[in-house]
């Protein structure tokens, strides 16, 4: 967090398309146009001289590139729709994945995301679940593990649901399920009693869920606890006592803007008590 973010000055010009390779890790702004490696203009600035000599330049290697959140394909152009840092990940085959690592609080449902929702209404066969998006998601009573027409799941209004989106696009009502493709719950379903639900930014959720995240490992050493992370920015925690639960919630909320040293200080203080 401490490192300075190099804002590329020319990005304010907006209209100039830049090669995605050169702005990796830099801030990109909505409206910027990116050029993929195979699209790079040979007549571009500095391009002609530096380009390595290629055998039969007529045939271009068509590698598939995935553009993740924050990027949009427009014909053959790649446009930025969110502001944040441009990230890239190599994948086994193809040109890898590009996405924008952005900070935001508003959740937009995405197919396949696991989220925490609150049941707001029960109408016939369908539950309405508030997931923090623009519209409540629908959840069928049959979309639970072991549920049949006769054997209804015990879901009440106000319950917390941990589920996954199967339908989520800009034109349709989002739909959730609490089973995977094999019909197993895999941890999804109604989240147990008690515990505390709070909201954080979407960026913090991803930060905490990163495989090399130290925060979670340190938190895990403090008390016996259970956490559920929803990609919609909701975190549910539960520990043995209410006091511990509150401490955990506060730590997780605060660690977004703490340096490593500050965090370690707090954790050592908590471990003493």
């Amino acid at each position: 967090m401490a490192e300075a973010v190099p804002v590329a000055a020319e990005s304010f010009a907006g209209c100039r398309a830049r090669a995605a390779r050169t702005v990796l890790g830099q801030v990109v702004l909505p409206g910027d146009e990116l050029l993929l490696p195979e699209q790079e203009d040979p007549e571009g600035p500095g391009g002609a001289g530096e380009r390595p000599l290629r055998l039969n330049p007529g045939t271009r290697t068509r590698v598939r590139v995935v553009c993740g959140p924050g990027l949009r394909r427009c014909g053959n152009r790649l446009l930025v729709t969110k502001c944040g840092r441009l990230r890239h990940k190599e994948s086994g085959s193809g040109g890898g994945v590009y996405w924008v690592d952005s900070q935001q609080k508003r959740y937009v449902p995405v197919k396949g995301d696991h989220v925490i929702g609150i049941v707001t209404a029960k109408s016939g066969d369908i539950f309405k679940v508030d997931v923090g998006g623009s519209e409540p998601a629908s959840l069928s009573y049959l979309a639970f593990e072991g549920a049949t027409k006769r054997n209804r799941p015990n879901v009440q209004v106000g319950d917390l649901i941990y589920g996954q989106f199967v339908v989520a696009n800009k034109d349709m009502e989002p739909e959730m399920v609490c089973i995977d493709s094999c019909g197993r719950a895999n941890g999804m379903g109604v989240i147990g009693q008690d515990g505390l639900l709070f909201k954080v930014t979407l960026g913090l959720i991803r930060k905490l869920l990163a495989p090399d995240c130290e925060i979670i490992q340190e938190v895990g050493k403090l008390y016996p606890l259970e956490i559920v992370f929803g990609m919609n920015g909701r975190i549910w925690v539960k520990a043995k006592t209410i006091q511990q639960t509150l401490i955990l919630a506060n730590i997780l909320e605060a660690c977004e803007h703490m340096t490593t040293d500050q965090r370690k200080q707090i954790f050592s203080r908590l471990a003493e008590t």
Binding site: L36, E38, R62, V63, R64, V65, V66, C67, G68, P69, L71, R72, R73, N76, L78, R87, K89, G95, V97, W99, V108, V110, K111, G112, D113, H114, Y162, N186, G187, R206, L209, A210, P211, C213, I216, V219, G220, K221, Y223, P224, L225, E226, I227, V228, F229, G230, M231, K238, A239, K240
Partner: protein, 170 residues
């Protein structure tokens, strides 16, 4: 003369007309289809981009069920590609071969019809070979002391083959 020429030109004209109609019929007035396949795939989920951990966690035995699930899911993500290559073998290839060696005969028998049933024999190399029944002339049995059935039907089984022979006794 005049009429003959007329008919010929008529035919020609007709053919030409047909050709034109045919061409008109079978020609689609469409702009040429260009290659529209895009090599950019849109994907709005962070899951694909960042290798995120399993989103339910439990520590220090608070919820053993979740703890087990969490270990399982996180391990799966990590070792997905490694495991594919070095899948642990419960039964080694050799053991498998040894086991099936003895089964070849028994299972083989199942698929052989009664009529074509043959005995298997191992030769000196350990290969299994069917014994061919030797065909030979079967001499009708003489009835020395035989009871007086004037038509006797008997089944003689030689090497799995049924021979039905009838012998006449007087």
């Amino acid at each position: 003369m005049q009429r003959g020429l007329d008919s010929e030109t008529k035919k020609q004209l007709e053919e030409e007309e047909k050709k034109i109609i045919n061409e008109e019929h079978w020609y689609l007035d469409l702009p040429e289809l260009k290659e529209k396949e895009s090599f950019i795939i849109e994907e709005q989920s962070f899951l694909l981009c960042e290798d995120l951990l399993y989103r339910r966690m439990s520590f220090r035995g608070f919820n053993p069920e979740v703890e087990k699930l969490m270990l399982q899911m996180n391990a799966k993500n990590k070792e997905e590609d490694i495991e594919n290559e070095t899948m642990e073998l419960d039964v080694s290839d050799e053991e498998m071969a040894r086991r099936y060696e003895t089964l070849v005969g028994t299972i083989g028998k199942k698929f052989v019809k009664k009529r074509g049933q043959v005995n298997y024999e191992e030769d000196e190399n350990g290969d299994i070979k069917p014994i061919k029944p030797k065909k030979m002339f079967l001499k009708p049995q003489d009835s020395n002391g035989c009871h007086t059935t004037w038509l006797q039907r008997c089944l003689v089984k030689v090497g799995g083959l049924f021979w039905s022979s009838s012998c006449w006794c007087l």
